[in-house]
């Protein structure tokens, strides 16, 4: 019963936390570029504005797909914070991404198609590392349940340093940060970089943004799991990781998809796979 409460708290609070994080992100990014930056609440103003704009749809299936994307994203975070099966959580997340891609494919714009294809490549790039991470958690705790993993009190980072670094690598993809923001970026960009949202307007775009906030909070929650033995260290490291992502975002130029795919698989197999092999040898 208590665990469901955590899930519900996530559903209510995550958009606020996610929006605030997005506001902090925009201010830090601006400061890194020696600019003043927008007000902290700017992401909320933007989404409220989008909700009041007229929504133009190029295909009547677009809105249902985007709604499914949002619902499954919320459900992903709900399952995670409720302490449920982490495999299920990540597969629901995958379903959510697929609905996003379908929404982009439902439009006739070539830019939208390009964005959807790039997003598929990104999914292919990050999935191996995600699966290795989950196997790593299972190897240590003997359970796929978030509740058991956190309740075990084992400092995961001690056993899974390689997996943690590998996961940080693909986290840049999930956070839509440069150098890996090939299909969608949280900054204002031209057609190709924001290809997947080319034909989305008004409330549809607002839903994408809200889903992105939900996703960010869920991912930061996942980072927390590596440090769940101490809540303050966990929160500190989680925020430090977010700052690191912003720094990477501002320090690197966008890469080609071949580079993203190659390096994230190398990271997955060297850091993640290597970590797993060592675990199998030394930790029984």
């Amino acid at each position: 019963m208590e665990s469901i409460l955590y899930g519900l708290i996530y559903i209510v609070l995550a958009p606020f936390v996610g929006g605030l994080l997005a506001g902090v992100d925009r201010i830090i990014t601006a400061r890194m570029q020696r600019r003043v930056g927008p007000p902290l609440l700017q992401p909320f103003y933007d989404v409220l504005k989008l909700l009041q704009k007229k929504t133009i749809q190029t295909n009547r299936f677009q809105a249902p797909y985007v709604i499914c994307h949002l619902i499954f994203m919320v459900f992903t975070g709900f399952l995670f914070f409720e302490g449920s099966d982490i495999l299920l959580t990540f597969f629901v997340l995958a379903v959510s991404s697929i609905f996003f891609i379908l929404a982009a494919y439902s439009s006739k714009s070539p830019f939208s198609f390009l964005g959807a294809e790039r997003e598929l490549l990104l999914v292919m790039a990050y999935e191996p590392m995600v699966l290795i991470t989950l196997v790593g958690f299972f190897k240590i705790t003997g359970s796929f349940h978030v509740y058991h993993i956190i309740a075990s009190g084992i400092p995961m980072i001690v056993y899974l340093p390689g997996i943690f670094l590998g996961f940080l690598y693909i986290l840049t993809i999930k956070f839509r940060k440069s150098p890996f923001d090939l299909s969608y970026s949280h900054h204002a960009h031209q057609e190709i970089v924001k290809g997947i949202t080319t034909d989305m307007t008004g409330s549809t775009l607002a839903m994408i943004e809200i889903a992105h906030w939900y996703e960010n909070v869920f991912l930061l929650g996942f980072i927390f799991m590596f440090f769940s033995f101490n809540i303050w260290i966990g929160i500190g490291v989680t925020l430090a990781v977010y700052f690191l992502e912003i720094l990477i975002d501002n320090a690197f130029a966008r890469e080609k998809w071949e580079f993203v795919l190659r390096t994230s698989w190398i990271a997955a197999f060297l850091l993640g796979g290597g970590n797993l092999v060592l675990l199998y040898i030394f930790y029984r």
Binding site: R26, A30, Q33, R34, R35, V36, G37, P38, P39, Q42, Y45, D46, K49, Q52, K53, K54, T55, I56, H187, A188, H189, Q190, E191, K194, T197, T198, D199, M200, T201, G202, L205
Partner: protein, 137 residues
């Protein structure tokens, strides 16, 4: 969003200057996007020539309501010195409805920011009218 009609690039450079750390329009939550479907305010620089008519009309039609057009520089407001040219139709208001006129040659970044912020005011009014008509209907 920014559209360049047949500008001499003077005003365009000043539009870019608004995005630099010196002026930083993001202080007002304004960001430059290349996608008309994500845009609220259309900036037009330069006079409109006959070849550009369809393009600027198309861009305007792709922007979702409510939307605002800001004409930047004397060429976009009236055609400027190019108005009598045989290939020039005139200012941006010959093709699409313009809400804010910002004269200057080239238009100063301060004036651009002032014009856009005025445009945000117009946008707010249009939004109110839109929501009122929606509730009546």
């Amino acid at each position: 969003m920014h559209y360049n009609g047949s500008s001499c690039n003077g005003c365009d450079i000043e539009v870019l200057a608004c995005l630099t750390p010196m002026y930083d329009v993001e202080r007002f939550g304004i960001i430059n996007t290349g996608n008309p479907k994500h845009a609220d305010i259309l900036l037009v620089t330069g006079s409109i020539n006959h070849q550009g008519v369809e393009i600027v009309r198309n861009l305007y039609n792709q922007m979702p309501e409510p939307k605002v057009v800001v004409a930047l520089g004397v060429c976009a407001t009236s055609g400027g010195v190019f108005a009598p040219c045989y290939n020039v139709k005139g200012g941006a208001d010959k093709v699409i409805p313009v809400d804010v006129y910002v004269p200057g040659c080239a238009v100063r970044p301060e004036a651009i920011i002032d014009g856009i912020v005025k445009g945000i005011g117009v946008l707010e009014e249009k939004r109110k009218i839109m929501t009122e008509t929606k509730t009546e209907a």
